[in-house]
């Protein structure tokens, strides 16, 4: 008896789990400099993943590789089980892409452009017509569908860019800086649109604005200088890093003796020494529920050193982002 195998969802040859995108040991060089190096991550089906990182961190490079625009120098990338190099065409069928600069054919009208893109995506006539109506509605382009793209403002061009990316109902949506350069109201609209799309589709977006990523994305990868430096849910990232509080203490006393004593205080997770001219400052990190101020002051006094100042500093999300991407090395600075 023939069993009905068509009931199982159509997926690529090598995707046993629910991962839609899987990237392993991805490295890409522009000339001698690596733009991304040994990057590993997976994106689950239906997940909204955010790439966060400063400009030049390797976000765009990674996205260009995911979309099949460029092959990686090393490493393997699969989308829906298809390798982006070997099965580029299959990957490209499944991906909708909005490049950072939103390159559009400015001499065409919105509808003509969407029709062109739909044909390139091999959509048939009837489906294309109904989808063009759909995306024009979704992206609120009703009043502009006969306008020449070159005459649209940046915000509306962005909408056309999103419209072409979602036109063929791709499994994976890759949006490079989708809210850059548009006004705040449009930013809010775009964010809610992306969230809506993320219910049905796998979305990978990049941004250098942290609150945006933590608002939209279920998971965040922080990329810095071509490496993933952190990967977690926005909540966990904030909790993990925010759960730690930091004390700036200035102590008059020989650092060689002060450091081990501070480190010996139970509850201190990390102590670093930051000498400034005339002052020895220390940064003491401890868990939020475990205030060390009292204990530090008594310890310092009992050793007959002088406590010059003590300041509690908790970190905002922006600071976490900065810390993870830039200040990480400073925290590991030699004592």
């Amino acid at each position: 008896m023939a069993t009905d195998v068509s009931a199982t969802p159509q997926t690529g040859p090598e995707s046993p789990d629910d991962s839609m995108i899987s990237v392993s040991d991805l490295t890409h060089y522009y000339g001698p400099m690596p733009a991304v190096e040994n990057v590993n991550f997976t994106v689950r089906r239906g997940e909204i993943l955010g790439f966060l990182g400063p400009n030049g961190a390797g976000k765009t490079t990674t996205m260009r590789i995911l979309t099949g625009f460029m092959p990686p120098t090393r490493g393997s990338v699969t989308v829906d089980g298809y390798d982006v190099v070997e099965k580029s065409l299959e990957v490209r069928k499944r991906v909708g892409y909005l490049p950072e600069s939103v390159p559009l054919h400015t001499e065409m009208t919105v509808t003509a452009y969407l029709k062109y893109m739909g044909t390139l995506r091999r959509m048939n006539g009837r489906r294309m017509r109904s989808r063009i109506d759909d995306v024009i509605g979704l992206c609120r382009l009703e009043d502009y569908h006969k306008t020449i793209i070159g005459k649209l403002s940046k915000g509306f061009r962005q909408r056309v860019g999103i419209a072409q990316a979602i036109l063929h109902e791709p499994d994976v949506l890759i949006l490079d800086e989708p809210t850059i350069g548009i006004d705040p109201i449009q930013v809010v609209e775009t964010r809610s649109l992306i969230q809506e799309l993320g219910r049905a589709q796998t979305v990978v977006l990049s941004s250098h604005i942290l609150p945006e990523v933590s608002m939209i994305c279920e998971r965040v990868l922080i990329i810095h200088e071509g490496h993933i430096v952190a990967a977690d849910t926005p909540g966990n990232l904030a909790q993990h890093l925010q759960g730690v509080e930091q004390l700036e203490v200035e102590i008059g006393g020989p650092p060689a003796q002060v450091l081990p004593v501070l480190r010996a205080i139970s509850g201190a997770t990390a102590v670093t020494h930051h000498p400034r001219p005339g002052v020895n400052a220390y940064r003491v990190k401890f868990r939020k529920d475990h205030d060390l101020r009292d204990e530090i002051s008594r310890t310092v006094i009992s050793h007959n050193w002088s406590l010059l100042s003590m300041q509690l500093s908790s970190m905002s999300l922006e600071e976490i982002f900065l810390r993870v991407t830039t200040a990480e090395d400073a925290a590991d600075a030699p004592d």
Binding site: R92, P103, M108, T119, L120
Partner: protein, 237 residues
Amino acid sequence: MRTIRAVAFKEIQIYFSSPVAYIVALIFMALSGFFFVQDLGDPFPEASLSNFFQGATFLLIPLAPALTMRLLAEEQKLGTIELLLTSPVRDWEVILGKYLASLTFLLFLLALTSYYVILLLVFASPDPGPIYSGYLGLVLYGMAALSVGILTSTVTSNQIIAAVVGTGILIVLYATSFISEVVTGLWANVFNQIGFTGHFNDFDRGIIDTAHVVYFLTATALFLFLSIRALESRRWR
């Protein structure tokens, strides 16, 4: 097929709505008209298009690259190539679509010159043979010239460079027949066979030689193949 048509159709629309194409058409018509009437003022003029055909091959040297320079260079400049190459379209479909668009415009240009034929038919009785063969030769020559232009447009994002280098290549292919006249023996033959001109002249005389047809088709295929490879290699840069 639909994707090739979509690419070609978009470009054809741009041709007919852009000033550059009309300027090219204007220059072509004005100068080819000049070549056409050049000998008609003679005491005993010949009712033929030979002068026009010879002039047209010369005119196409700058004009064919001018028609094709935008096709891929601009997409690279504006970044729209990123969306084109991340669509499920094969590289050869992109090249072929763009090429067919430029060929369509060239055929439109040549169709305009049928006016000369009509003039000849009204005022004289020309020999139809060389007219047919001449047009066939001109189309084949134009096909090859456009394919050179497509290649140079693929390798650079600068339209001016694409046009200048394309014209340079066509000048070399045009001039080899002159080189063949100053060298002797085997080299004369080699230079005559390599260039476009040596293969075109028979068409002008009313001779359709399969060897020449095959030559132009091969040259076209070669340059389009190189364009496809150049587009592919873009991904690896």
